[in-house]
Amino acid sequence: MRSVVLTKGVPDFREGAVSFDEDGHLERGKTPTVMNPNDEFALKAALQTKVRHGGNVSVMSMGPPGYKEVLQEAMESVYADDLYLLSDREMAAADTWATGMTLATGIEKMEERPDVVFAGFKTADGETGHTGPQTDWCLDWPIVTHVISLDIDEEEGILRAKRLVEGEFDEIETVEAPLPCFVVTDPEFEPTYRKAAHRLTWKDLREETQDRAENFEDHLTVWNQEELNLDPDYIGLDGSPTIVSSVDPIPKAPSERDATMVTPDDEEGMAEVFEEIAPFTTGAAEAEGD
C-alpha cells in the first residue's frame, strides 16, 4: 500500500505566535510557519493505513524551501518514509487551481503510483477547501471527502469510508471507492487501533522514524518547475484564474464590555456577583445582550 499525504505550511495563527500590523494585516515575516492544523487528520489517516497494511507513506508539499521543517514535522507524526517538496519561484502566488495542477503533476511523477492520496480539510490561511478536490480533478481519480473513518480491503482493491455529511441533521454515509482513490479527511477523523499487532507496529514505526526524522533531508526530494516539466503559464501567479478583488481586514469587536473586578475576599462584592448570576443558574432568565 502506497500513500501520499499533501500538506501545507501556514502562518501560525495561535495566540502569541501570530503577528498583525496596526491595520490588522498579517505580518508574514514575523509569524512563524507551521503545518496546516487540519493536515493532522490526513496524516493520522495515512498512518493508520501504513500501520494496518504496511507499505510506504510519502508527504508532499508545494512551497518555498522554508517548508522543509513543516515536512520534517509531518515525517515525525506520520512516520513517513520520504518527503517531496515542489518548489520554484514560478510556482509562487498560486491559487488553488494552479496548486492542484502542480501537486497532481508531482504525484504523477512519483516512481510508483500511490494507492491513496490524503489531504486535510481546508487550510488555515486560504480556508477554501478547494486544493484537495482540484488536485484530484487533475488526477481524475475517485474522491471521498469528509472522511471520519477508513478501512481498506487490499484484496478487493477497495476503500471503504464513513463520511460526515453536515446538514440540518448530521448524517454519516458509508461509501466504497476503487483504488487509487483521493481522500479528504474531516477534522472528526479518528484512527482506530483495536489490534495489539497494530499498536506494536505503530511502536516499531515510531522507533524507526526517530533517526529518519533527524536526517530528514536525506529522504527529501525537491522538484522544480523544469523537473516537473510544467508550463509556467499554467502554474504560479500566471496560472491562477482566481482574482482577488479586495481584501478586508476582519473588523475589531464592536465594543469592549465593562468589567468589574471582584476579589474573592470582598464579601460585599461577591454577594453582588452571586445576586447577578443567580437568575441564570435556575434557567429562569436568559442572558441579556450578546
Binding site: 483495536r194 489490534k195 495489539a196 499487532a197 499498536r199 511502536k203
Partner: protein
C-alpha cells in the same frame, strides 16, 4: 467471531517485576508473548517501599533475568540495616544486619517508575523478537471465556485477545484474579496499607547525612509509640538522590482506629529521630500509597485456573513479617516459574497443564513456604487470639515484661530475636509485636534523642496537587454501592487521599436531610484517587481501574 481474533501464545498482564520476569523467561524460550500494561509507561502505576532482594535460595533473581539491572535501574544497595524502637523521647536502635544478610545475595533500594520502565524496555525488545511485544496504555478489564473456560483477555482499548496462557501480574488490585474468583477484597485483616514520601536530597547530602559512600545505602525501620497504637511501622531507605520514607500498617488496624494514614506518615517525618537526616529544607517529590497483601493469609496456595496463572501481588505473594518485607523478589521468582511451567507444559504437548506445574514449582522452590510459613500457621490461632493477645500485651507492659526485655536485651536476645528468621516467621500480628515490645524496650534501655524536628510536611491538598493525573473524564472508576456512614464511612479516614474535615480528597463526609431527619453519608470524587484499592476493602464499592493511560501517574513510584 473467532476467525480474526488475535491470538498470542502468552499474554502477560502488567509490566511490573512479576510480569517482566514472566515475559523475559517466555521470550528466552521463544514463546510468542504479548505484555499489556495499563500505565502510560511501565512503573507509572506502581509503588513500593521499596527494597528489592536477590535471595541466595531463589531460583531466579532480577539481575539473572536482566543483566545490568543494578547499575541501570536500582538506586543504592542496602549496606546497613537498623530498626529503631521508639518511646517518648527515647530510642533503642538494633542492628538488623544478620536478618538482612540471611539468604541475601544483595538488596537494593528502588523507585518503581525508573525500575519498571527500564525493565519494560528490555522486555519489549525481547518479546518483539517472538512476534509479540509490550504495549502501554491498555487496560485489561477481564477474562475472555469460551464454554466457561478462560481462553484469553478482554481489554478497554483492544478487541479480545486469545492466549494459551494468561499471566495475571496486574498487581494487588488484580482485576483478573477477581474475575476468576480467586481473590477478593473483603477482609481488612488480610491487607496492609503503605504510604510513602519520596524526599528530595542531593547525592552528596545523602552521603554526608548517613555517612556513607556513593555506592552504599541504608535501610531504617521504626516502631513504637509514634503511630498512636496503630499496628505497623515506618521505614526509610536511601536512594541515589532522594529518600523513601513511609509507613505500613495493618489495614484492619487503620480502619478500626479511624486513623488517617497521611497523619501517621507525618508523625514519622516530624519525629525528632529523623531530624538527623531531614531538616527545614524538607521537599517532598511525591506522596504515594498502596495496598499490600499479607501473604501469610492470602498468598494463593494454588494460583491458577484454566489457562490463567497469578503472579506477584495479584497472587498475594508479598512477604511481610516484622522487619522482613519482600515482595518484588517473589514476584520475579513466581513470574519466571510460571513461564518455565508453560514452556515445559508446551513441550509435553499439554500447554493447559502450565498452571499445575507452576504450583508445584512454587512449592518445590521453597517460595510458597516463605510466603505462607507453617510456623506462623501453627502458632497464629493461639497468639492472635483476643484473650491471649491481651494477656501477652499486658505482660509485656508489666514491670516483669520490662525487666524481662531488659535482661533479654543485655543477653543479646532481643537483637537475636529481631534477626531470627524463625522468630519473625512466627511473629503474631498483634499490637504487642509492633508497638508494645519496641515501646517497653525503648523506655527501659533507650537513649534520649536530643534533636528537634524542623520538618514541615505538605498538607494533603498540597500532596494531591503535586501528583500528576490524566483524569478519565466521564468515567469514574469507583462507584459507592452503599453510601451510608456505617457501610462506607471508614473510607473517609482510611483512604490515603481523604480525611475528615477535608473536602479536596476522594471521600467526604456529608450530612443530608432524609425522612424528616439528618443522615450521615459519604460522597466520592474519584479525581484525586491514587488507585490503591483501600476503599474497595473498607467500604462498599464497585471498584475498577481507570482506562489505559488514565488516572494517577506516578513519577517516582
Amino acid at each position: 467471531m473467532t476467525d480474526d481474533r488475535e491470538h498470542y501464545e502468552a499474554v502477560v498482564v502488567g509490566a511490573g517485576p512479576g510480569g517482566a520476569a514472566a515475559a523475559a523467561t517466555l521470550a528466552n524460550n521463544d514463546v510468542e508473548t504479548l505484555v499489556l500494561e495499563r500505565g502510560t509507561e511501565a512503573g507509572s502505576k506502581n509503588v513500593s517501599g521499596g527494597l528489592i532482594y536477590a535471595e541466595e535460595s531463589a531460583p531466579y533473581t532480577v539481575d539473572d533475568l536482566f543483566p545490568g539491572f543494578r547499575e541501570a535501574a536500582s538506586e543504592r544497595p542496602v549496606t546497613e540495616n537498623y530498626i529503631h524502637a521508639l518511646a517518648d523521647d527515647k530510642v533503642r536502635t538494633l542492628d538488623l544486619g544478620d536478618i538482612h544478610h540471611h539468604d541475601t545475595e544483595w538488596a537494593d533500594a528502588v523507585l518503581r517508575r525508573r525500575m519498571d520502565s527500564w525493565l519494560a524496555e528490555r522486555v519489549h525488545e525481547m518479546t518483539r523478537e517472538t512476534g509479540g511485544g509490550l504495549l502501554t496504555d491498555v487496560r485489561v478489564n477481564g477474562l475472555l471465556r469460551e464454554d466457561g473456560h478462560i481462553v484469553g483477555v478482554t481489554c478497554d482499548e483492544l478487541d479480545p485477545i486469545g492466549a494459551d496462557m494468561v499471566v495475571a501480574a496486574d498487581g494487588v488490585n488484580s482485576e483478573l484474579a477477581r474475575d476468576a474468583g480467586m481473590m477478593d477484597w473483603e477482609e481488612p485483616e488480610e491487607w496492609f496499607q503503605g504510604v510513602k514520601a519520596v524526599v528530595q536530597m542531593t547525592p552528596e547530602e545523602v552521603d554526608e547525612r548517613f555517612d556513607i559512600d556513593d555506592d552504599e545505602g541504608e535501610a531504617h525501620l521504626f516502631s513504637g509509640d509514634l503511630f498512636e497504637g496503630v499496628r505497623g511501622g515506618g521505614f526509610l531507605y536511601t536512594n541515589r538522590d532522594s529518600l523513601s520514607i513511609g509507613t505500613v500498617f495493618h489495614l484492619d488496624s487503620i480502619a478500626a482506629q479511624q486513623a488517617e494514614p497521611h497523619e501517621l506518615l507525618d508523625n514519622l517525618l516530624t519525629h525528632p529521630l529523623l531530624a538527623r537526616w531531614i531538616d527545614a529544607d524538607y521537599h517532598e517529590r511525591e506522596y504515594s500509597a498502596k495496598l499490600v497483601p499479607d501473604s501469610k493469609k492470602v498468598a494463593h496456595p494454588s494460583p491458577h485456573k484454566d489457562r490463567l496463572v497469578l503472579v506477584g501481588d495479584a497472587a498475594g505473594q508479598m512477604q511481610a513479617q516484622g522487619p522482613i518485607i519482600k515482595g518484588m523478589n517473589h514476584a520475579v521468582t513466581a513470574g519466571a516459574l510460571a513461564a518455565e511451567a508453560f514452556v515445559e507444559a508446551k513441550s509435553r504437548g499439554k500447554p493447559g497443564k502450565a498452571g499445575s506445574i507452576y504450583e508445584k514449582k512454587l512449592k518445590n522452590s521453597g517460595t510458597m513456604s516463605k510466603l505462607r510459613p507453617t510456623s506462623y500457621r501453627a502458632t497464629a490461632p493461639v497468639s492472635e487470639n483476643g484473650v491471649v493477645a491481651g494477656v501477652t500485651d499486658a505482660l509485656a507492659r508489666s514491670p516483669l515484661g520490662s525487666v524481662g526485655l531488659t535482661v533479654a536485651d543485655k543477653l543479646g536476645l532481643v537483637e537475636w530475636g529481631f534477626n531470627s528468621p524463625l522468630v519473625l516467621k512466627t511473629l503474631p500480628d498483634i499490637r504487642t509485636a509492633y508497638a508494645t515490645v519496641p515501646e517497653v524496650l525503648a523506655k527501659a534501655t533507650g537513649e534520649v534523642i536530643t534533636e528537634t524536628s524542623e520538618v514541615q510536611p505538605p498538607d494533603l491538598a498540597e500532596r494531591i496537587g503535586d501528583l500528576t493525573y490524566d483524569t478519565d473524564v466521564g468515567n469514574p472508576h469507583i462507584e459507592v454501592q452503599d453510601n451510608s456512614w456505617e457501610a462506607s464511612g471508614t473510607a473517609v479516614t482510611a483512604c490515603p487521599v481523604s480525611a475528615l474535615d477535608f473536602g479536596g480528597g476522594c471521600y467526604r463526609e456529608e450530612t443530608v436531610k432524609a425522612n424528616g431527619g439528618e443522615e450521615r453519608v459519604v460522597s466520592l470524587d474519584t479525581q484525586p484517587c491514587v488507585e490503591c484499592g483501600t476503599c474497595a476493602v473498607v467500604a462498599d464499592t464497585h471498584w475498577e481501574h481507570p482506562h489505559g493511560g488514565k488516572g494517577v501517574e506516578y513519577r517516582e513510584g
